[in-house]
């Protein structure tokens, strides 16, 4: 999952990036409204954490621009202004959720998980495909109830495919959503990780659709 963090406070920006990276997200950051708007407009993100008070272009304007351009990724607004009138304004501008500063990092992570899950059409924190079960909140994978040990890169890959199960996901899409913008897109790491995952999971779990990409079938 690839997340964009738009926050002008350098310390808070770094903290968010660290916490998200630690939790298996690929993170891009922006420090002002214009930069954030450009990234959100050009890169595919699974979710955005957007501060309202930003230099150059405020968060609500950035959000409105994105929605006007047809961008549908879930957006979590971050702001010091926690009155209901502010919340209403944020939601009306196209936000999906709202967290007031100061916040607990766990709350941001929980809200973000819920947004990503909801955007993919899942109502629970647990996603299953056959005998494979993914606990999104705990970041744990089990096969027939037995825990499977995965590296963070393997988990990211499986999580993205499970969130979008039933859909064919191209290698490019996987690269775009699993790595931040500095990643070398020409490498064949995706194939390597798929190979490793297949060894740890049941054979039929991840299907290769020739010429198109990978797919986890619906139950």
């Amino acid at each position: 999952m690839r997340i964009l963090v738009v926050e002008d406070d350098t310390n808070l920006n770094r903290q968010l990036k660290d916490a998200l990276t630690e939790n298996g997200y690929a993170v891009d950051v922006a420090f002002d409204g214009e930069e954030g708007h450009f990234l959100g407009d050009t890169e595919p993100y699974d979710a955005v954490i957007l501060d309202i008070g930003l230099p150059h272009m405020d968060g609500l304007s950035v959000l409105e621009e994105w929605r006007r351009a047809g961008k549908t990724m879930p957006v979590l607004l971050l702001t010091a202004r926690d009155r209901w009138s502010d919340k209403v304004q944020g939601i009306d501008a196209g936000a999906d959720d709202y967290v007031a500063k100061p916040f607990h990092m766990e709350e941001i992570l929980a809200r973000l998980r819920a947004l990503v899950r909801r955007a993919a059409g899942h109502s629970s924190n647990e996603i299953t495909a056959g005998s494979v079960r993914l606990d999104v909140k705990a970041g744990k994978v089990t096969v027939d109830g037995d825990a499977v040990k995965l590296t963070s890169h393997e988990l990211r890959l499986l999580s993205y495919l499970m969130h979008h199960k039933g859909k064919v996901i191209s290698r490019t899409e996987l690269t775009e959503h699993l790595y931040d913008q500095d990643f070398d897109r020409d490498s064949n790491t995706i194939e390597v990780f798929v190979g490793r995952l297949r060894k740890k999971l049941p054979d039929e779990c991840i299907q290769t659709v020739r010429g198109l990409g990978y797919q986890i079938l619906e139950d």
Binding site: L12, A80, W84, V88, D92, D97, P102, H104, M105, S123
Partner: protein, 491 residues
């Protein structure tokens, strides 16, 4: 030196006296004073009394003078008559005592009438006289004769009647004579007294009528002021935002000034609110950074201190922000908000934040009144209650809005209920008790109710927590309604 000191002390005494006067004057501002109409009534009444009294005195004086002149002319005429008749009689061979020397006026026939005439010779012996003189002795006049051989005087006859006396010295056929005629002054005084009495009665009636008229005129003229007072009261009651209505030229600037004052007050509140918001933004981000940094290194003892202190800072920031908001709020006048509009907007937001919950909105009364207060405050109260319900609901939330009457006041009742676990009676008591005041609060109640309770208090409404038929909690929020319910709403 001593003179200088005395001058200084005089000056300081003078200043102290002036200051005391000023303080007394200023001290009376704000205390109720006599009404303008009453003051006008007393002033015009007093002035009319003085003016009309002066008029009465003047009229009486003029009347009295006219009567006096007329008396003198009458007496003069009688003197002339007697002179010519005496001359006629002496020329015809008779003397001043002849029967033809007479005056026709019957008042000279009556005893004690004050009307007398006598003709005396050089020695003062009576040559002729009116019947009224019989048996009495008239007072002698000592005034010297003027160039025209006449003299006048005021005297008293033996009956005590005041009389005007005119005497002429003439020579008839070589005999020097003094012809005297008198007329009653008391008659004139009686007439003047009558006149004075009647004039006073008439003028008093006029004065009373004019005073009453001035009172009525003042009341009519002051009516726009009463209207303005009512308009300002409506603003205070929250029925209108500005003073409205047409006013006369003299009062229109006052209405404009009041509106200007309301506008500038509003601006100050807006500015204060904005500054509070800016302060919040300024403080909350650094606190968030401190907390996150400390959380990631919990083992470090410094982190624990930073964490606990930043928690306190956050608590203080939100407590004082809430208090600032509430105190700014109580000064907001003339605001009203459409409750339905606010609730629809909040439900729309909630549906997005909690897509798994079904929100049902019932508007029980077609002519639902508006909320008398700030729209964002209503949003804050209902938003927190709705958010709270959404946290606990299994899948259903109901919102009902009804118009109510509480004693003489129109109220707006907003009911928010959920199908969650609800609260027991003890829990409700605890929740309503906890954090009674923001400044006593150590930790939030976890239900977001503190700000709701504070706002409900500010607006003089009420909040009750009950058990809902849906199984969960039912929150009943009662708020004062603005008049003009149902107006301006379409669709």
């Amino acid at each position: 030196m001593a003179a200088e000191q005395s001058a200084v002390s005089k000056l300081s005494d003078w200043a102290r006296t002036r200051f005391d006067q000023l303080r007394t004057t200023l001290g009376t501002i704000g205390k109720p004073k006599t009404s303008i109409a009453a003051r006008l009534f007393w002033l015009s009444g007093a002035w009319l009394m003085v003016a009309l009294l002066a008029t009465a005195i003047l009229l009486t004086e003029l009347y009295s003078r006219a009567l006096d002149t007329s008396l003198s002319e009458t007496l003069e005429f009688h003197v002339e008559t007697l002179v010519s008749r005496t001359i006629e009689a002496t020329e015809a061979g008779g003397d001043a005592g002849s029967d033809t020397v007479r005056v026709g006026d019957p008042r000279f026939e009556r005893t004690a009438s004050g009307w007398y005439w006598t003709i005396r010779g050089q020695d003062g012996r009576l040559a002729n006289f009116s019947s009224s003189v019989v048996g009495i002795v008239l007072p002698e006049i000592t005034t010297p004769f003027s160039a025209g051989n006449r003299r006048t005087a005021v005297a008293t006859d033996p009956f005590g009647t005041q009389i005007r006396v005119i005497e002429r010295a003439v020579t008839a056929n070589g005999v020097p004579l003094r012809i005297m005629v008198t007329g009653s002054l008391d008659e004139i005084l009686e007439l003047v007294d009558d006149f004075r009495g009647q004039t006073l009665i008439v003028l008093l009636a006029v004065a009373v009528m004019l005073t009453i008229m001035s009172f009525i005129v003042a009341r009519i003229a002051l009516r726009p002021l009463q209207k303005l007072g009512k308009a300002i009261e409506e603003v205070r009651e929250g029925e209108t935002e500005t003073v409205t209505g047409d006013y006369p030229l003299e009062i229109a600037p006052l209405a404009d000034e009041v509106n200007e004052l309301l506008r500038s007050n509003q601006q100050i509140i807006e500015r204060a609110k904005n500054q509070v918001g800016n302060l919040a933004h300024g403080l909350k981000t650094p606190i968030a950074v401190l907390r996150n940094e400390a959380t990631s290194e919990k083992a470090n003892p410094l982190s624990r201190i930073v964490l606990s202190e930043s928690d306190k800072m956050q608590q203080m920031v939100s407590t004082y922000l809430d208090r600032a908001r509430i105190s700014a709020r109580s000064a907001v006048v003339g605001k009203k908000a459409d409750g339905i509009h606010v609730m629809l907007r909040l439900v729309r937001v909630m549906e997005k934040l909690h897509p798994e919950i079904t929100y049902a909105m019932v508007r029980a009364d077609a002519s639902l009144p508006w909320f008398r207060g700030d729209e964002s405050d209503l949003e804050e109260m209902a938003g927190n209650l709705l958010d709270n319900a959404s946290k606990w609901a299994k899948g259903q939330i109901g919102v009902t809005m009804v118009a109510e009457r509480n004693k003489s006041q129109a109220m707006l009742l907003i009911k928010i209920e959920d199908d969650g676990p609800g609260l027991t009676e003890e829990q409700v008591k605890a929740v309503m008790r906890r954090g009674v005041k923001l400044d006593e609060k150590v930790q939030g109640s976890g239900l977001g109710l503190d700000i709701v309770k504070e706002l409900v208090d500010v607006y003089g409404g009420s909040l009750q927590l009950k058990r809902s038929v849906l199984g969960g909690l039912l929150a009943e929020l009662r708020l004062p309604a603005a008049k003009l319910g149902g107006l301006g709403r379409s669709g």
